[in-house]
């Protein structure tokens, strides 16, 4: 018969609300990187839960595989893809959010009330006997006897996934990469000669040369293409109007 000691109960009541709040925050924060960090925290919490529930091996695997490998992969892809408009929280399908929240409340209520009412017909047993020779040894005993066939199938799946990722990520050029000469010709024979001398650097002609201030063109208008596309997508571009020079006094007074 399983009795849960007080330290585990304290651990549960501290960590469980934090995990639920972190996963809620995952939905609510705007930036995907913050979502990833909150998810990493939820996964670490789950690893602690596993270890507390006599699943030592799974707890360690959770930390190594999920918070180590999988979250690193997520952050790597986030870095590769960069920030774009899909981070915004505006709903594109009207009425989707209320429907989703209503359905979620219904589904969650159903699950919780189901767990509250159902019984297994026996009390919680605990893993003291099953973990007799040690958690890793007992798991290995099961894995290499009862579950040896699924284990082999899973290894085939891993190899297939690795191959699939390589095939998907492999990129073959359909047209040759333009040479410097072709790029120069295209620049001068294009629609306008405006960018023939290269795009302006951020902050040119303005009174501020930070990377988030657009350059000013000779007629005083801002040149948004002088700013990196990532800064534009993040909405970090400043108005350059505030950095324009004021009235320039160009009257000539004759000195005596």
């Amino acid at each position: 018969m399983l009795t849960i000691q007080t330290p585990e109960a304290v651990m549960f009541w501290v960590l469980a609300p934090v995990a639920v709040l972190a996963s809620l925050g995952m939905l609510l924060v705007k930036k995907a990187v913050h979502s990833a960090l909150l998810l990493a925290w939820v996964m670490i919490t789950l690893a602690i839960f596993y270890i507390a529930q006599d699943a030592l091996f799974l707890g360690i695997v959770q930390i190594v595989v999920y918070t180590g490998a999988v979250m690193m992969l997520f952050l790597f892809i986030l870095m590769l893809v960069g920030v774009d408009a899909s981070d915004s929280l505006t709903e594109t399908i009207p009425g989707l959010r209320p429907i989703a929240i209503t359905a979620a409340v219904g589904f969650g209520g159903l699950l919780v009330s189901l767990i509250g009412r159902a019984t297994l017909g026996h009390g919680a047993v605990g893993l003291e006997t099953a973990n007799g020779p040690g958690n890793v040894q007992a798991l290995a005993q099961l894995l290499f006897s009862t579950y040896v066939w699924p284990f082999e199938v899973v290894s085939a799946l891993l190899i297939t996934a690795a191959l699939g990722a390589m095939v998907l990520a492999h990129h073959q050029r359909t047209v040759a990469r333009p040479t410097q000469r072709e790029q120069a010709i295209a620049r001068f024979r294009g629609a306008s000669l405006g960018s023939a001398a290269g795009l302006p650097n951020p902050g040119v002609f303005a009174r501020h040369n930070a990377v988030d201030v657009p350059a000013l063109l000779p007629d005083g208008s801002a040149a948004p293409n002088s700013i990196s596309a990532t800064l534009k997508a993040r909405g970090d571009m400043l108005e350059s109007a505030q950095f324009e020079l004021g009235e320039v006094d160009n009257t000539v007074t004759e000195e005596k």
Binding site: F12, L58, A104
Partner: protein, 99 residues
């Protein structure tokens, strides 16, 4: 406290993950919500293994982790491929079949 409390947490996490899949637009965040749902299912498996006193649930949870790792690798490769051709990671932009 009894071990069933872990099941309540798992069902809440699963529900939150499902909402995230529906509501968010960034394909990577949607994918992370799928991972959250898988993790919630794993917590359920580990808890039931403890309640029933056998290790079969833990073995299945281990298999789930392996399959989830495969899924992440292939899914992220698909996202990178889509991003390369459309310059967008939004799930709403990949709608060629609709038109």
């Amino acid at each position: 406290m009894n071990p069933y409390n872990y099941l309540y947490v798992a069902s809440l996490l699963f529900t939150i993950g499902a909402v995230g899949v529906v509501v968010r637009r960034n394909a990577i965040v949607v994918f992370m919500c799928v991972e959250l749902m898988l993790n919630a299912a794993n917590l359920t498996l580990v808890t039931f293994a403890r309640i029933n006193g056998t290790l079969d649930g833990q073995v299945v949870a281990f298999f789930t982790m392996v399959v989830a790792a495969c899924e992440v690798v292939v899914g992220l490769a698909i996202i990178v491929t889509i991003y390369r051709s459309r310059r967008s990671a939004s799930v709403d932009d990949a709608s060629l079949l609709k038109r």
